[in-house]
């Protein structure tokens, strides 16, 4: 009997249960565990749950060293942009050390951060920065769009022996969704078909999955059957499921909240062009943010970012084999 859970709650439950399961899991970050009344501190104590100063390089570097020494740290970073301050640790330390050591060490850690906060948080706090982390050998990236996936991927991330960047979209935080009972695990590298369809494949990430499902509803009223595929993890990336879907529908629309060349869309488009070209009846279409920073005022912000209507327009243009201005 699945339970209804908020997205953020599903993540917190996963962390709690994994910390109960494995005494080596530790959890720390800024502005958390401030007092003894904190639920994580009460459950797991001040060795395993700590507050840190604003010191991302030290926080992430300590996670790397602790991970090499038998702990499994989860670092709460709050916003993916804050990782940029310490990006050497994310890109050039955590995923490299195992390889450079010839496989002698492993670095099991989770860097947890929210992202994409398109609610007036403006240019430095609303971004999608995962492009800079994709394709880094040794680094895994989780990007859930539902409560069930959020829980399953956090569990899997904590059980993974590799460095994982776990990104949870801020606009999904209070969305409720069913979560299976028991030890629900979602494997990395397995995409999920969120809505089956036959006329077009829409591949979307995080909050864009929700928008794409809404767009699919709008399209269904006009007799267009859209299949919505959620990669769930950007690294490893399940290209096979996407290509199999394109084989079925012959058409591909990619929806990602990042600007065009910083999007997962552009990476997936490249893969499909190489591996699924013979299945395409039309060119692929990418629905991404415009090439600007995210502006503050709502009229500006919604102009820049993808929307249900932009997705609908893109699907129709691909079906008509026209290049519509999106």
């Amino acid at each position: 009997m699945p339970r209804e859970m908020m997205f953020a709650e599903a993540i917190a439950v996963a962390i709690t249960e994994e910390m109960q399961r494995n005494p080596n899991v530790v959890f720390y970050g800024q502005n958390m565990a401030m007092t003894d009344r904190d639920p994580f501190v009460r459950k797991f104590g001040k060795d395993r749950v700590r507050i840190t100063p604003i010191s991302e390089t030290a926080e992430l570097g300590i996670a790397v060293g602790a991970a090499m020494s038998g702990l499994h740290p989860i670092v709460e970073l709050y916003m993916a942009e804050f990782m940029l301050v310490a990006f050497d640790e994310v890109i050039n330390e955590a995923p490299r050390l195992r390889y450079m050591s010839g496989g002698q060490v492993k670095v099991p850690c989770v860097f947890k951060a929210g992202f994409g906060f398109a609610a007036g948080w403006a240019g430095q706090h609303s971004n999608c920065t995962y492009h800079a982390m994709m394709g880094i050998p040794g680094l895994k990236i989780a990007l859930p769009s539902t409560s069930a996936d959020a829980m399953g991927l956090m569990r899997a991330a904590i059980r993974d022996d590799n460095p994982v960047v776990y990104l949870h979209h801020y606009m999904l935080t209070i969305d409720k969704g069913p979560v299976p009972d028991g030890e629900h695990l979602v494997p990395f590298g397995v995409a999920d078909i969120k809505r089956a369809g036959s006329d077009v494949t829409i591949v979307a990430t995080a909050w864009m999955v929700k928008k794409s499902l809404a767009a699919a509803e709008m399209l269904a009223k006009e007799g267009i059957s859209a299949e919505v595929v959620d990669p769930r993890t950007l690294a490893p990336l399940d290209v096979k499921t996407i290509v199999d879907s394109v084989k079925k529908t012959g058409r591909l629309v990619l929806v990602d909240q990042a600007p065009r060349h910083a999007s997962a869309a552009v990476v997936i488009a490249g893969e499909v062009a190489e591996q699924g070209f013979k299945y395409l009846k039309a060119p692929v279409k990418m629905v991404t943010a415009l090439d600007t920073s995210v502006p503050y005022s709502e009229t500006l912000e919604s102009y820049v970012l993808p929307s249900e209507q932009k997705i609908v327009n893109a699907v129709k243009s691909v079906l008509a084999m026209q290049a519509a201005a999106v």
Binding site: T52, A58, A63, A66, Y99, G102, Q104, N162
Partner: protein
């Protein structure tokens, strides 16, 4: 910690031997660039001149204490017990190298001998070392972690953030700032506010309210005593200390940066090459930590001149064999390059 003046003859002889092994190993690496060009690729950084600082510090260890050096990392695993032939083979890009040819000079690793990794990015290993100490604290292992880094990295954000957080969490770590007065080509008084004001770099400890001390890094027993005090404090749960160990590196920062096919080798020390200060370099050579310790051991009767010569001959023979082994070692199989990406 056993006081320096109560160390056994065997222990003192061991210290002398390890200092010689480091010097001889580094000399062979340096000569390889001239005698066998192409065998060593990229950038190698030598610790000749650091022997007293390295051995004096590591002589304070309990066997399970982890050691986290910078990319100038050859000397530490030699002392910890990593086979020298595996280290040389790694530097020579061979599959019998300690990292199977995947890392090279800057990224040696031997967790089995308590040397997890070294980072090639200046300062970042300081944070890693604090992480190793955090694990020791949570798991209550009683280990103390040694974090070695140069004066250059003491201006990196990682240094400042880590010292603060290690102090807040009272982590069992000793931070050894190896001040050899040069950060690559930059003389330290061009870039360090404490140095320009005539203050020691150990003063940085005051910013984090932790104990700090400056020690003559060319005197192995002085290093042993000062680091020993810091280790005792850390093991007693009193948190980190910053020990500034002052010595001179006898080689330049690394082999000259060239683009293939231009061959590379070690040139003159920056003091001469960049600053025209030959006198400073010659003074440092006269102050050689190995010659000083040798004289000290003979003067106090720990070793005879014949004893010392015997050790020197055996170290030379060891490193002859090490180079021979490494040169004869096979290169890695190319297809192995896709291994070890994920655990």
């Amino acid at each position: 910690m056993v006081p320096a003046n109560q160390l056994s003859k065997d222990r003192l002889a061991w210290m002398y031997t390890q200092m010689l092994r480091i010097r001889e190993f580094e000399e062979r690496v340096k000569r390889t660039f001239v005698e066998h060009p192409g065998v060593i690729r990229g950038h190698a950084h030598l610790g000749d001149g650091a022997e007293a600082s390295i051995v004096g510090a590591l002589a304070t260890r309990n066997d399970a204490d982890p050691v986290m050096p910078s990319y100038r990392c050859h000397g530490y695993p030699l002392v910890l017990g990593t086979p020298a032939r595996a280290l040389m083979a790694e530097i020579y890009q061979r599959r019998d190298g300690v990292c199977k040819g995947f890392g090279g000079s800057m990224h040696l690793s031997d967790p089995a001998h308590h040397f997890p990794t070294a980072s090639g990015i200046i300062g970042q290993g300081i944070a890693h070392a604090a992480g190793v100490a955090y694990a020791a604290q949570v798991k209550k292992t009683g280990q103390v972690v040694y974090s070695f880094f140069g004066d250059g990295s003491s201006k990196q954000g990682a240094f400042h953030e880590t010292l603060n957080l290690a102090a807040v969490w009272k982590l069992p770590v000793v931070f050894v700032l190896e001040n050899n007065m040069y950060q690559a080509y930059t003389y330290y008084k061009l870039e360090d506010a404490n140095a320009i004001a005539g203050d020691p770099l150990s003063q940085k400890a005051k910013a984090y309210s932790i104990p700090g001390a400056t020690v003559d890094g060319t005197d192995v027993l002085k290093v042993y005593e000062e680091v020993g005090k810091a280790v005792d404090r850390a093991r007693a749960g009193q948190g980190p200390s910053l020990i500034e160990s002052r010595f001179y590196r006898l080689s330049p920062h690394g082999n000259a940066i060239t683009v293939p096919p231009v061959p590379t080798q070690f040139q003159e020390h920056e003091a001469i090459e960049v600053y025209g200060n030959k006198a400073e370099f010659e003074e440092a050579k006269k102050n050689d930590p190995i010659l000083k310790f040798r004289a000290q051991l003979i003067a106090n009767g720990t070793l005879t001149d014949a004893d010392a010569k015997k050790i020197e001959d055996s170290v030379r023979a060891e490193m002859d064999e090490v180079v021979k082994f490494a040169l004869a070692s096979p290169l890695p199989t190319p297809e192995d390059a896709v291994k070890y990406v994920y655990a």
